[in-house]
């Protein structure tokens, strides 16, 4: 007994410290490190965020070895406080040597210091320091400073002599060799201080602002010259540069530049043209950008050797702060931005995955890193030494500037003061902005393109207001420590205890370059271990206001052997080192390389598909309908359905022809395939005039049994049409046997009650003619009420009648397929739709019976956009492949945390009020903002008197139990695109690779594309016209999945598949042209795209 108690006590005693020790990071007290630097901001009536908008942007940190003793030293900038230089004494102890090093090092009194960079600017082997200045102060106070390292821990300020005493409003400088001439040039990131009054940037786009525009300086023998204009650097007054990262993004051996811009000016991705100039290719390579971009990092986080890009924004993670702070959606200003070439920008972090073919897939939401509040500094680094780079993000803003209560109700203060005859004070206003401190974020790389939040597990849960940050192995123990510059708090020094916890092996690599570029900036290092590869580039310019170490740390996990290390030096020469010992720092000298060898070009793989020139002349035009003007609370728009493609050999000449729907500017046409492989539009056909209707689906089938394909055109769309009017009446065109089509006026019954999605012919009653299932997608103006779907029975002569079926009002049907599931010789109907399960109706002699439950062991409610069938596992049964929302949307949906759509006419005003709810951090909240709620249901203006009062509201707070009782609910519990394998009469869910979940999947082609006799899948999709809060979902460029014939699939990288499909895919067909196999893809607002199968 006694023994037990003692043990228990002992356990208790040790349990607490043991748990504390498990944290990866330990915050070291200033007393231990001697780092007492704190970036204190003092606000006053004359000096505050209203007089200088970047008042709370914080300071930076630079890390570098100033005395070449192998210990990284630290430099902090203080906006209003003195800068500090700390010498690393080892064992995580530092000494403040600022004043001894140089009397000017603390910075100019009255100046406003911003970013800092350590670099061997003059290439003499000693680390110099460049400090940037900005602020609403005179230009002499703004001149940037260059502290040249004279050795013996002494510095002198020589910016003017080097030509770098620039007086721009500077954020940060990056030193790198842009012209590959062996010395370091400088890119200076600047920002405007002008008040942004409006968005009509066309006004200013072509102006040059000497003080706000970014600058590129070329180094000529330690004198720097401004070459910005010649180099093609954008310098307009709307530049609000907050982040810069340098990397060879396209891996052509030349350094590229990513500049992130705050506000509406888009980020720039400057690709190096090899001739001293750059071209901004952000729009060619990236599908959308973060809007209020702050810091940026470029690094390969998925170990495929390709640099990926992370840019930060200010979207909060939790429901409450989103409701309080997220800007109101404004479609007109978004449209204005598009019209002024400001591109698609959304307020959230963007993780741009490099596809290796010049495109990037933005997967921040899928990866789980898109919302980290007001964020500043992203840093990819392997903090737990497991071989994959994790992600640190600093955040914090002194005041909740964008608080909506503040915007809307602060004006009351002024009126009140006037009523009370008291003066209104600016500082009252400043103080009225709420201040919220938050912990920084740290994410562990899950090795599968996703990250897990480790704020608590890794010991970063202390709230604060953080700005610039760096990582470096400060104590040379093999793991990366973190140093963070904070506002009004002592800088944080986090000791990484990975090595102490024996978490993983490592190797540190220090490259020593030639004179001029002594730290080998721009060098690339590949580390190979047991079939794995890691890639890093020596580029300390990343993050925010800061500059990281030039020593590269590679985590190795349990690996004890390094197969080889490949270095590509800045001059392009390659060096291979084998048989390296782990757990050490290796210094590699460039001069040791005897003969520079040019890198051999990587083995170019012949892609499976090649984009061919267009085989017909067609471009779809999109009309800018905004469906949300009709129903504010829908999630997606439904108006854009085209181009619709149907294919058949209409004239029986042995060549496949195509129907392609038109738009407001052109009629739908039938294109006849010619012997030379081109398609020519047929004269005389007119159908589906898009000024009177929207074609949503089309199919060729033999309606009248004459052996020639006839054409059924189904009408859909949303914004302009009304149910039960002619615009939603489908049309049947009969083929005269020569490929000419004419409308058969009497063929169809009235099918105009809904906007349609699909037409699927099938002889359902075995009478030898083709009947039709026509899916109802939506009732215009009445989302999400179930629209009517039709079963049309053919009388054998091409005249159809409506048969009432159990699926007539099944839901918002998007697609359907006929399969004989029970092998009784009668085809059964499988259908899917938005916010409904995949349904199976067995075709019995006495009618259709819903047997869904017999074929699925669990409900499959999803957003299902498309359904295809193929026997992917070769067992003789058709399997289902169903396209869904994917995992890259703002909604996290699972069986445990389903999404719900409540709907009713709550306020009895004749309109359906749909409320979408989904889980955020464990609780289900409505997606609707207070503004939207008030717009939809006026009495709600009385219910929630402020944004704060609404911020935590769920459906139960918004509605009374009685009101909720009259609401209907639709749900979704699966958002992934999945394959359902038919296994013994049950459909078993089989997950597809994560790349399949990058975007909405709207078309699926199943075929053997890899010539191995096994069915592969091509997933196409994207969905741009969504609520702005959702944004364009567009990370799918044509996802080709290789099947193994057993029901498993593997993603084929884009350069290998050859697909680079940009935009919203509305149709796709595999078609034979001559003897070649093609895939033709219809994209909203684009030309028809043809890919030839190789």
């Amino acid at each position: 007994m006694r023994f037990n108690i003692t043990t228990a006590t002992l356990l208790l005693l040790f349990a607490i410290p043991a748990i504390a020790q498990q944290k990866l990071f330990q915050l070291l007290p200033p007393g231990q490190t001697n780092i007492h630097f704190s970036n204190d901001i003092s606000e006053s009536e004359s000096l505050n965020v209203l007089s200088y908008e970047y008042f709370y942007n914080g300071g930076g940190v630079a890390v570098g070895d100033i005395n070449n003793d192998g210990l990284p030293d630290l430099f902090f900038t203080g906006n209003m406080k003195a800068n500090k230089l700390y010498l690393n004494l080892g064992n995580m102890q530092f000494k403040d040597i600022t004043k001894d090093a140089c009397s000017e090092l603390p910075g100019r009194a009255g100046g406003w210091k911003t970013g800092v960079t350590m670099a061997d600017v003059n290439g003499d082997g000693l680390m110099d320091i460049y400090v940037c200045y900005s602020g609403k102060v005179g230009e002499e106070l703004r001149r940037n400073q260059l502290f040249i390292n004279k050795g013996n821990l002494k510095f002198t300020e020589e910016a003017k002599a080097y030509g770098l005493d620039d007086k721009s409003y500077s954020t940060q400088a990056a030193f790198f060799d842009y012209d590959n001439d062996g010395d370091l040039d400088m890119f200076l990131l600047n920002h405007s201080t002008k008040k942004i009054d409006n968005m009509e940037f066309a006004k200013f786009r072509n102006d040059i602002d000497e003080l706000a525009g970014d600058k590129l300086y070329e180094n000529n023998g330690n004198h720097f010259t401004d070459v910005s204009v010649r180099a093609g650097i954008r310098q307009n007054p709307m530049t609000f540069g907050l982040g810069i990262a340098i990397a060879d993004v396209n891996k052509d051996g030349w350094q590229d530049i990513y500049v992130s811009n705050d506000y509406n000016e888009p980020d720039y991705l400057y690709i190096n043209n090899h001739d001293g100039t750059f071209t901004d290719q952000s729009q060619q390579r990236l599908r959308h950008l973060s809007q209020f971009s702050m810091g940026v990092d470029i690094a390969d986080f998925n170990n495929d050797g390709l640099p990926d890009i992370m840019s930060l924004d200010m979207l909060p993670e939790d429901n409450r702060r989103q409701k309080l702070l997220q800007l109101q959606e404004n479609y007109e200003s978004f449209a204005l931005m598009q019209s002024q070439d400001l591109y698609k920008q959304y307020m959230r972090n963007m993780l741009q995955l490099n596809n290796g073919d010049g495109t990037f897939s933005e997967i921040g939401r899928l990866a789980g890193v898109s919302a980290t509040d007001w964020s500043w500094c992203p840093l990819f680094a392997d903090f737990d030494n497991d071989g994959f780079k994790d992600l640190f993000i600093s955040n914090g803003y002194l005041r909740d500037y964008t608080n909506k209560d503040f915007l809307r109700y602060w004006g009351d203060y002024k009126v009140k003061k006037a009523v009370d005859r008291e003066p209104a004070l600016l500082m009252d206003l400043v103080k009225a902005m709420p201040s919220t401190t938050l912990p920084n974020y740290i994410f562990k790389n899950n090795h599968d393109l996703t990250f897990s939040n480790k704020q608590i597990d890794w010991g970063l849960s202390t709230p604060g207001i953080s700005s610039g940050a760096v990582y470096a192995d400060l104590d040379n123990d093999g793991d990366l420590d973190l140093v963070i510059n904070n506002i009004n708090e002592v800088a944080s020094v986090y000791k990484n205890q990975s090595r102490e916890q024996d978490a993983g092996n490592y190797v540190a690599v220090k490259l020593s370059g030639r004179a001029g570029n002594t730290n080998a900036i721009g060098a690339k290092v590949y580390l190979y271990t047991n079939g794995n590869m890691q890639y890093q580039e020596v580029n300390p310019n990343r993050g925010y206001l800061s500059c990281i170490s030039t020593v590269l740390n590679f985590g190795l996990g349990t690996q004890k052997n390094i197969d080889s290390l490949k270095i590509i030096w800045p001059d392009g020469s390659t060096q291979l080192t084998a048989n390296l010992t782990v757990n050490q720092k290796i210094i590699i000298q460039q001069k040791d390389v005897p003969q520079p060898v040019k890198t051999a070009p990587e083995n170019a793989v012949k892609p499976l598909f090649t984009k061919s020139s267009a085989l017909l002349d067609y471009k779809s035009e999109v009309s800018n309908q905004n469906d949300f003007k009709r129903q504010l609370l829908m999630l997606f728009m439904y108006s854009k359905t085209g181009p619709v493609i149907a294919r058949a050999d209409v004239n029986k000449d042995g060549l496949e022809d195509m129907f392609i729907s038109g738009d407001n500017t052109q009629a739908a046409k039938i294109y006849i395939q010619q012997r030379d492989g081109h398609f020519v539009a047929q004269e005389g056909f007119s159908g589906g005039n898009e000024n009177e209707c929207t074609v949503a689906a089309a199919v060729f089938f033999d309606a009248n049994g004459d052996g020639f394909p006839d054409l059924y055109i189904a009408k859909g769309g949303y914004s302009l049409w009304e149910a039960n009017t002619h615009s939603l009446q489908d049309e049947l065109y009969l083929n005269d046997g020569k490929g000419n089509f004419s409308l058969s006026e009497e063929a169809l019954p009235d099918v105009s009650a809904s906007s349609k999605s699909c037409v699927r012919p099938c002889d359902i009653d075995g009478d030898g003619d083709l009947d039709l299932f026509v899916g109802g997608r939506i009732i215009p103006g009445k989302y999400p009420l179930a629209p009517k779907s039709y079963l049309l029975i053919n009388d054998g002569k091409g005249k159809f009648t409506v048969a009432d079926m159990p699926f007539s009002n099944i839901g918002m049907v998007t697609d359907a397929q006929w399969i004989d599931i029970n092998k009784d010789g009668r085809k059964d109907l499988v259908l899917c739709g938005e916010l409904m399960p995949i349904k199976i109706f067995i075709n019995t002699t006495s009618g259709f019976a819903d047997k869904t439950g017999e074929y699925f062991s669990e409900p499959t409610n999803g957003f299902w956009f498309t359904l295809n069938i193929a026997d992917v596992d070769g067992d003789g049964n058709e399997d289902l492949i169903a396209g869904n929302l994917g995992l890259n949307s703002p909604f996290k949906i699972s069986e445990k945390e389903p999404a719900e759509m409540y709907y009713a006419d709550f306020d009895g005003n004749g309109s359906i009020d749909p409320f979408f709810n989904c889980y955020v951090q464990g609780k289900s909240y409505p997606f609707v903002s207070r503004d939207e709620l008030n717009e939809q249901i006026y009495p709600m203006r009385r219910k929630f008197s402020s944004y704060k009062n609404y911020a935590d509201a769920g459906m139960k707070e918004i509605f009374t139990p009685d009101e909720l009782a009259k609401a209907s609910v639709l749900t979704a519990s699966e958002e992934r695109t999945v394959c359902f394998l038919n296994r013994g009469g049950k459909f078993v869910k089989s997950l597809l690779p994560l790349q399949a979940q990058f975007s909405v999947v709207t078309k699926i082609l199943a075929k053997d594309f890899t010539h191995d006799g096994k069915i592969d899948l091509l997933l196409l999709g994207n969905h741009a016209d969504n609520r702005l809060k959702i944004g364009s979902i567009d990370a799918n460029y044509g996802c080709l999945l290789e099947g193994d014939g057993k029901g498993n699939f593997e993603y084929i990288p884009q350069p290998v598949s050859g697909f680079s499909v940009k935009g919203d895919v509305k149709s796709a067909e595999a078609i034979t042209v001559g003897k070649e196999q093609y895939i033709v893809i219809g994209i909203a607002g684009s030309e028809l795209i043809f890919y030839k199968q190789n």
Binding site: L50, E53, I196, Y263, G411, D412, V415, K416, V419, K629
Partner: protein
């Protein structure tokens, strides 16, 4: 949240010298009560047409009570469509109809305004004031009961005017083409009340009873009349006199002026055009030394004019969907030009202030005379000095032309707006004349 309005306003809107002939007890002053509604509407950022509706139903409640106690005032049912007055029963004999009328304004506002709960404080303060003035508790209770009864009936009447159906209607989608309105800087706020024409009017038969002449045809051609209109706005703004700037600011009346600074945006607030004219009505009633009953009459009739004026004007705005000077000038004359006033978020033609001010002035002139001089200190709250006018019509004319000085309207929108307002106002006066005599100066 709000301090006692009665106290604050006494300081702010203290009697302008010599404007008051004889005084009613302060607790029968309508002006502070109406102003307390303005305060709530400023808080809620109620848009101008919606504001006119709220003011009107509130003062109509007061009119309903007074008219059941003053045989010279005809029942509202003789004026309003589909209106059935609630009968105040004889059991309520002990009530003071004037107190009930004042309280009914607050109560109707409380029940209808989004943040109407804020008026609770005013109601409480009002009851305290009554006690201080030695009004018997039983009288107070009975008066409040009557006020509640009438307010309830008025709110029910308001419910059927189509307001709640607005949210079910199609929102404004910018019309394609250079001639048409597009949201304007700096906040690009979506079009305000594009379906306001569907609201049930007060006196007129329909929204399109006073369709005005179409606007000058759009043209980019620098020799065109339209270009000249724009050039006029531009030229005036470039050499505007301090007097013109004063006039423009005095009649700005923009409920929500968004001031952006970086990521931050602050909304500055003002009383809407309708609220401004309701306050003018209060000032005039006081200056004229009107009896309480007549003051209520005047407020009610002005409010009816305002509601209908907004309906006809908003009907035209979304018929013509015309571009604002700011958009046109930036595109065709000067990229960098900004108007003196912030452009309000709805189409340009006709000028709302011109229509509603002219209509209100007609009604005020009918009741108080063509040469009623007064000093308007409504805008002192916003640090804009008071202005004195020789007549309501001159004030209205100034309100109209102020939109040109402010750079937010073209001249034809102002002049045709005045014509529209005049026609409407005259028509309304004819309608009122049947039942109601001028009050006299």
């Amino acid at each position: 949240m709000m301090k006692n309005i009665f106290l604050g306003l006494a300081l702010l809107y203290g009697p302008v010298n010599g404007q008051i002939k004889k005084t009613l007890p302060a607790y029968l002053d309508l002006q502070p009560v109406v102003f307390s509604m303005s305060m709530v509407m400023m808080h809620d950022v109620v848009n101008p047409p919606a504001a006119s509706r709220f003011y009107s139903y509130a003062v109509l409640s007061a009119y309903e009570i007074v008219s059941q106690n003053n045989s010279t005032l005809h029942s509202l049912s003789t004026l309003l469509k589909d209106y059935t007055p609630v009968k105040i029963t004889k059991n309520n004999k002990t009530y003071n109809y004037r107190i009930a009328a004042v309280y009914a304004v607050l109560e109707t506002g409380k029940r209808m305004l989004p943040s109407g709960f804020m008026l609770q404080e005013q109601e409480d303060a009002y009851l305290k004031t009554l006690s201080k003035n030695n009004i018997a508790a039983s009288t107070i209770t009975a008066s409040v009961a009557v006020a509640n009864l009438v307010a309830g009936s008025m709110v029910a009447y308001a419910k059927a005017d189509g307001y709640s159906k607005l949210s079910a209607r199609l929102r404004y989608t910018p019309v394609k083409g250079d001639a048409y309105w597009y949201p304007t800087p700096p906040a690009y706020i979506e079009a305000v009340e594009p379906n306001w024409k569907t609201i049930r009017p007060m006196l007129i038969d329909s929204c399109n009873q006073f369709i005005c002449a179409p606007p000058v045809t759009f043209s980019k051609d620098s020799s065109s009349n339209f270009f000249k209109l724009a050039k006029e706005v531009y030229d005036i703004s470039n050499r505007s006199t301090p007097a013109q700037i004063q006039v423009a600011s005095f009649w700005d009346c923009n409920p929500f002026i968004v001031n952006t600074s970086g990521h931050m945006a602050i909304g500055f607030k003002k009383i809407s055009p309708g609220g401004h004219w309701m306050n003018i009505t209060g000032i005039a009633a006081k200056k004229a030394g009107l009896s309480f009953d007549n003051a209520v009459l005047l407020h009610a009739m002005v409010s009816l004019a305002l509601v209908d004026a907004f309906i006809v004007c908003w009907d035209e705005k979304y018929r013509s969907n015309r571009i604002r000077p700011e958009s046109y000038i930036n595109k065709y004359i000067d990229l960098h030009w900004q108007p003196l006033l912030q452009t309000p978020p709805f189409p340009e033609y006709t000028s709302g202030h011109s229509v509603i001010s002219t209509a209100a002035a007609e009604v005020l002139s009918y009741f108080l005379g063509d040469h009623f001089s007064y000093t308007d200190n409504s805008e002192e709250l916003f640090e804009i000095p008071a202005r004195t006018f020789p007549s309501f019509r001159e004030a209205a004319a100034e309100a109209a032309i102020s939109r040109l000085y402010g750079g937010i309207h073209f001249r034809d929108a102002i002049e045709n707006g005045q014509r529209q307002g005049k026609a409407l106002g005259k028509w309304m006066v004819e309608k009122m004349r049947v039942h109601l005599k001028p009050i006299g100066g």
